[in-house]
């Protein structure tokens, strides 16, 4: 996990990859807690979401979980690989675990409740 990513209390992360461009996914802790991941439903490219809006659904063997947008934004790329092969998320050697890339003009207010990865780790452990 990249140390500069920011995390939500609901286990999503957001990572700046370029100016106003971000990668969004769920944390390694969330993946471990879910266990075998068997289904990932991602939004359509181009769809827009508000902060805290459900943008994806992930299903483990046991249950379905909704995934929330850490900040507002418009989807510019989706990770087709994990949609086709959700079990890749459980593969320790697989690195591209992001769900979507978004374009966002979110201001500081939207970032205010996000945690540094180190703080997040402390919170969940």
């Amino acid at each position: 996990m990249n140390e500069s990513m920011l995390c939500t209390k609901t286990h999503e992360y957001v990572l700046e990859i370029d100016k106003n461009k971000y990668e969004v996914g769920i944390t390694d802790y969330a993946i471990e807690q879910l266990g075998d991941i068997v289904f990932v439903e991602l939004p359509e490219n181009g769809s827009e979401f508000a902060k805290n809006e459900v943008f994806a659904t992930i299903e483990s063997v046991k249950a379905a979980s909704e995934i929330y947008m850490p900040i507002s934004g418009k989807v510019i790329e989706i990770n087709e690989e994990i949609a086709d092969s959700p079990e890749l998320l459980n593969d320790e050697n697989y690195e591209n675990k992001w769900f979507v890339k978004i374009e966002s003009s979110a201001d500081q207010v939207e970032f205010a409740d996000l945690m540094d990865y180190s703080d997040y780790k402390e919170e969940v452990e």
Binding site: G35, D36, V38, F39, E41, T57, E59, V61, K62, A63, A64, N90
Partner: protein
């Protein structure tokens, strides 16, 4: 307060993830639900199911008493033979689904669901007026270990049990110098046994079975895989697929209703009427055609009209697709092969009605 089985420390030591289930803190998985599932289909798995209830019914009237409680005919049981059945209320609704063993004349062992023990005992006591029976809840004295899978019986034989009980029979045996009851039963669709042991020996027996089972590929299995295994085998889960508003006929369990028993039993008039004319709803098996997992509580549609609800659903690790059990209105034009829809996150997903069980059972039903 959440209860723990006598094997709780063993589960923690094995790295299990624990969850609360029916008032018990139980292992849901040790490694991965899918791996554990496949281990049981291909080799052998050991389960701690000590949360299940054990009730002894004994006394002169134990047979007529039990025959009043369930639609099965308990009179047909020979010594050490078991039968799957349901305890029904006056409307034929299922209070619990049970396995009843005849241990000897006038003495029966009833295996009940953890979540239902109190209701079962209350109902039994309410029904015991006029019967000379004693009902003893032994649940807190016994642990129950299930050893299931194609290698399970070989493992038990390797421990010196030369003659295993036949399917749905129980036997008094000695394992590692401990007295146990071994029954040829399970909840996975695989061959295997369930071992009833007094609590004080359960940790010792668990360790010994894991050790001796190594060469058979045995692994500890959690409730997560227990659920996917029983779903593939289309075995009902009380609280999901069975409840007090569902009769054995509606649940597809007419095979476990005696057609010859002459005695009256609770709910008989409703159940006999439904045997002739069908129930208000019926249980079906579904396989998802569209991508998506049907889960407990999701609505089922046909021609844009709600016709039922999913009661159990998930992935089938062995088939590699998504399967479900649902109750639907009994419509004549819907049969195996028909396409209906499941509402998943506000979108209709196609599903096909398929035969149950979803995976061929390897035990001798």
């Amino acid at each position: 307060m959440t209860k723990q089985t006598f094997l709780h420390d063993k589960h923690i030591a094995l790295g299990a993830r624990m969850v609360d289930f029916a008032g018990w803190n139980m292992p849901v998985q040790y490694s991965s639900i899918i791996d554990e599932h496949k281990t049981v289909r291909e080799a052998a798995g050991i389960f701690d199911v000590s949360h299940m209830g054990e009730i002894i019914v004994k006394g002169e009237d134990s047979l007529p008493f039990l025959n009043k409680l369930v639609p099965q005919d308990i009179a047909k049981l020979v010594d050490k033979k078991a039968v799957y059945c349901q305890m029904t209320n006056k409307n034929g609704g299922i209070i619990d689904d049970l396995i009843i063993y005849k241990l000897e004349e006038q003495k029966y062992l009833v295996i009940a669901n953890a979540s239902r023990i109190d209701d079962d005992l209350n109902w039994m006591v309410r029904n015991k007026i006029g019967f000379d029976v004693t009902i003893v809840n032994e649940s807190h004295n016994f642990s129950l270990l299930a050893v299931q899978g194609p290698k399970a019986c070989d493992l038990i034989r390797s421990l010196g049990v030369n003659v295993l009980p036949e399917f749905f029979m129980i036997k008094r045996e000695e394992l590692f110098y401990i007295n146990v009851w071994i029954s040829r039963t399970g909840y996975t669709g695989e061959d295997g046994v369930e071992i009833l042991v007094r609590n004080e020996f359960s940790e010792y027996l668990w360790d010994k079975l894991l050790e001796a089972g190594k060469s058979f590929g045995i692994k500890p299995i959690g409730l997560g895989a227990r659920d996917t295994l029983r779903l593939e085998a289309s075995l009902h889960l009380y609280g999901n697929d069975l409840d007090e508003d569902t009769t054995p006929v509606e649940a597809g369990l007419s095979w476990s209703v005696s057609k010859t028993k002459t005695e009256d039993y609770n709910g008989k008039s409703v159940i006999e009427e439904q045997l002739k004319n069908g129930g208000r709803k019926k249980l079906i098996g579904l396989k998802m055609l569209d991508k998506g997992i049907a889960r407990h509580g999701y609505d089922v549609y046909y021609e844009n009209e709600k016709i039922g609800v999913i009661t159990s659903g998930g992935i089938s690790p062995c088939r590699g697709d998504n399967i479900a059990l649902a109750y639907i209105k009994p419509l004549d034009n819907l049969t195996v092969g028909s396409t209906i829809q499941v509402m998943i996150r506000e979108k209709l997903h196609n599903a096909e009605i398929v035969k149950r069980p979803f995976v061929t059972k390897h035990n001798k039903v």
